[in-house]
Symmetry: C2
DNA sequence: CCGCCGCGTTATCCCGGGTTAAGAAACGCT
DNA sequence: AGCGTTTCTTAACCCGGGATAACGCGGCGG
C-alpha cells in the first residue's frame, strides 16, 4: 500500500509535507471484532486501513444496526461526519478481520494543514470524493430496489462478499437479513437473467 | 442576504478575496419552472440562491423523478457531484418560483482559489458541511420510515411546505404521491400523537 | 362561462419486505 | 469430540407502500 502514491492522486504533495504527515501518524492494531470508535467517544483520530477490513455502523434506540460502510486496505476509516462537526462519535467502527490502521491525530493534522496550501487542497479534494460517494448512495436509495442495490454491491465489491456476514450486507443495503436471503434465492433461481 | 457574513461563517475571508469573488459572479434570473441545469450539459457554473426556490432532481430511464434537494434563499445550487467529477450534469435544476441566482463560473473560481489558502479552506469547509448533510440523509433512509421522514421534513423545512407541490415532497422522501397522501391522512387522523 | 389540466385524495389490488419462529449448517471454544 | 453460538434459510403472517384508476377541486385560458 503506497500511501504517498495514493495521496498524490488527490493533488500535488511535496515529499517534505508527506514526511510531516508520516511523522504524526501511528500504527494501530485491531483484533478481529475490536472497536476503534464507539458512540459518545470524542473523535481524536482518523485512519487509513493498512490491512484488514472494518465496518462503520449506527445502532438506533431499539438496538437495530445500520451499516454505513465497509472499508478495506487503502481506504479511509473514521466517524467522519462527527469529526467534521467536532462532535462526539455516533458511530461504531469495528474490525471484521485482524486489522492494521495508520491513525492520524486530528489536532496535529489540523495544525499541519492550517497554513499549508497543499494540505488544504488535498483535504478539500478528499472530502469532495467522499461527498460524491454519499450522493451515489443517496441515488441508490432513491432509485434502486433492494435487489438492484444488492446486485450493485456484488458487482462493486465482489472481494468483500466472502469476508462479510450476510446480515451485515443486508444492513448496508437497508433491508433485513431475511429479506436478503429471499432476494438471493430469487436471484440464483433465475438463470442468467436479463440485467 | 449578506453573502459576506455567510461566507465568514465558513472561515476567515479577507474583503479583498471576497471582492474578487463578487467580481466573477453574475446574477441570473429564472422564471418559474425554468431550468438552469439539465442532464448532458457541461457544468460551467455553481450558484447561490438570492431569492426564490429551486429543486434538484434526477429522472431515471423510465421517466421517474427523484428529488435530491430543495434550495432556497442563501443556499447553494448546482449539480455538485458532477461538478466535482468534472462530468456532464446528470441532474435537473428547476425554479419552483421566480428565482434570482448569483452564479459563479467554475473555471474562474478555481483560478482564483488555486493559490489562495483562504479560498481552499473555505471550499474545504463548504464541502465538509455538504458531506454531513448527505450523511444525515443516508441516516434517514437507513433508519427512518417514510412517515418519520415526512415528519422530519415538516419539522425542518416548514416554510417550504406551502410552496412545494406535494408530489415533489413525496419524491424527496422517496415514496409516491399516493403514499404520501395516505401518510398525511394517517397523521392528521391521530390527535396530538406521542411524537 | 366552460372545458381543460394539474394536483391531491381515495379505493382496490398486489407485492416486497418486516416480523417471528424454527431448523440446518458452519464456526469456535474447551 | 462435544457444545454452544452465530449465520443462513425457509415458512407463515402482516403491513406499508407501489400501481392504477376514479373522482373532486381549483386555476387558467379560451
Amino acid at each position: 500500500m503506497d500511501l504517498y502514491a495514493q495521496l498524490l492522486r488527490l493533488g500535488p504533495l511535496s515529499k517534505a509535507t508527506y514526511g510531516a504527515l508520516v511523522r504524526i501518524s501511528e500504527e494501530r492494531v485491531l483484533a478481529k471484532q475490536a472497536f476503534w470508535s464507539e458512540p459518545g467517544a470524542p473523535v481524536t483520530h482518523f485512519a487509513i486501513v493498512l490491512e484488514g477490513l472494518v465496518r462503520h455502523f449506527y445502532v438506533d434506540a431499539k438496538g437495530r444496526e445500520s451499516v454505513k460502510a465497509f472499508r478495506a486496505r487503502g481506504e479511509f476509516s473514521a466517524p467522519y461526519a462527527e469529526l467534521i462537526q467536532r462532535k462526539p462519535s455516533r458511530t461504531f467502527i469495528q474490525a471484521l478481520e485482524p486489522t492494521r490502521l495508520l491513525t492520524f491525530d486530528v489536532v496535529k493534522f489540523e495544525a499541519l494543514a492550517e497554513d499549508s496550501l497543499e494540505l488544504q487542497r488535498l483535504a478539500r479534494r478528499f472530502v469532495e470524493l467522499h461527498f460524491v460517494a454519499k450522493e451515489q448512495r443517496e441515488y441508490e436509495f432513491l432509485q434502486l430496489t433492494a435487489e438492484q442495490r444488492y446486485r450493485q454491491f456484488c458487482a462493486e465489491r465482489p472481494e468483500h462478499l466472502s469476508h462479510i456476514p450476510q446480515h451485515q450486507v443486508a444492513s448496508y443495503i437497508g433491508i433485513t437479513p431475511v429479506a436478503l436471503s429471499r432476494i438471493r434465492a430469487r436471484v440464483s433461481g433465475r438463470r442468467t437473467p436479463v440485467g
